[in-house]
């Protein structure tokens, strides 16, 4: 089973790669690494999760938003590489959580991203991660995630 089949088996769907919100590109390859732009939980051109986690949005919504961000990261990587099977491993994600005051469970929200990566890629999905709470995100997104992955040679 390849990685895209695994995503389907887990009950998820790789969204159409979102267009950048502006004049940058969704992913850049340099050497063995691919860097994605920060992804927000847009599906079919529509932002699915907006507002602050633990205020307008529950933690559970934040977790769902993080999953969609990861799927969008993978979608732009697939667009760039042709196939997710060219991924050797996930290296790092940074998870920015649009956080209500005094909300300190950014790690729980980010687990939505981390758990999904391990479900899809197994050992190769294990990654380093930073999660931080920020006061505002573009288009009022609930979560934004950027990814670095290593490419098979």
């Amino acid at each position: 089973m390849n990685y895209e089949e695994k995503i389907k088996e887990l009950g998820y769907e790789l969204p159409v790669a979102p267009k950048p919100l502006a004049s940058y590109i969704p992913a850049v390859v340099t050497g063995n690494l691919i860097f994605t732009a920060g992804q927000v939980p847009i599906v079919n051109g529509e932002l699915k999760y907006s507002g602050k986690v633990c205020d307008e949005k529950t933690i559970e919504d934040g977790i769902r938003a993080a999953r969609v961000c990861v799927l969008n990261c993978l979608s732009v990587i697939k667009n760039e590489l042709g196939s997710l099977d060219k991924i050797k491993r996930i290296v790092k994600i940074t998870v920015f959580v649009n956080s209500a005051e005094q909300f300190t469970d950014q790690a729980k929200v980010a687990n939505g991203a981390s758990d999904l990566l391990v479900e899809i890629f197994g050992e190769n999905g294990k990654h380093a991660r930073s999660a931080v709470g920020v006061s505002e995100l573009p288009i009022n997104s609930a979560v934004e995630i950027e990814m670095i992955a290593e490419i098979k040679q």
Copy 2:
């Protein structure tokens, strides 16, 4: 026309590379990559844009601040490599916008950076990008930008 000439033709000037605000260095080369420190819009030792975007500062000021941050990133890269013409491509920028409450147009501010990079470097200036809103930045800067670029071998 080389990249520095292009910057002049566009009506901009490469500032003198700002000294770090503290005990770190402005840029580090590792393999084919150069990582800059986060740059604020300092010109000749003076912070040009302070305060929160959409409060003390307009979005248009934020865009101008982002351009100066990019020029400072390029200035420290030039100092390290000797010439901007050693840049193969811009890989990634992260744009931290000092954001007023409920300001969600970080992408517009970050476009000041992204558009300028494409004007200067053309196809090689296209980059991945994350833009986030933060509540405070060093010395109350309006914007802070860090850059990763690939070096010609």
Copy 3:
């Protein structure tokens, strides 16, 4: 004197590498680089510095917190590589400071990290750095730091 002995001579101790707060791993090697997960100032399973700098915590506490974050970054790198002596140089750190409103001295806090790296590694400890103020951090940590280092081949 090797790097671990240097840490002891400086009066510090390398903490036991903290376990990730969730389903990610503390450090990932890719090519010549090692990326750590964001580290908070946990020692022996206990968060040593919580709350906002310049409000619940003084700047001096923030500096101390930054030092512990760096020691934890080094601890997870040692765990992954076997020895700190496999580090060729420190490439980049990102310092997220849990900041009270109107606190703009993130650079001073981050110096706790930068100064210690130069004390330990000398020239090889000089690094690029971004420091930003964020509104919330996981488990209400005062500081979070992530590190990229280059490995000897």
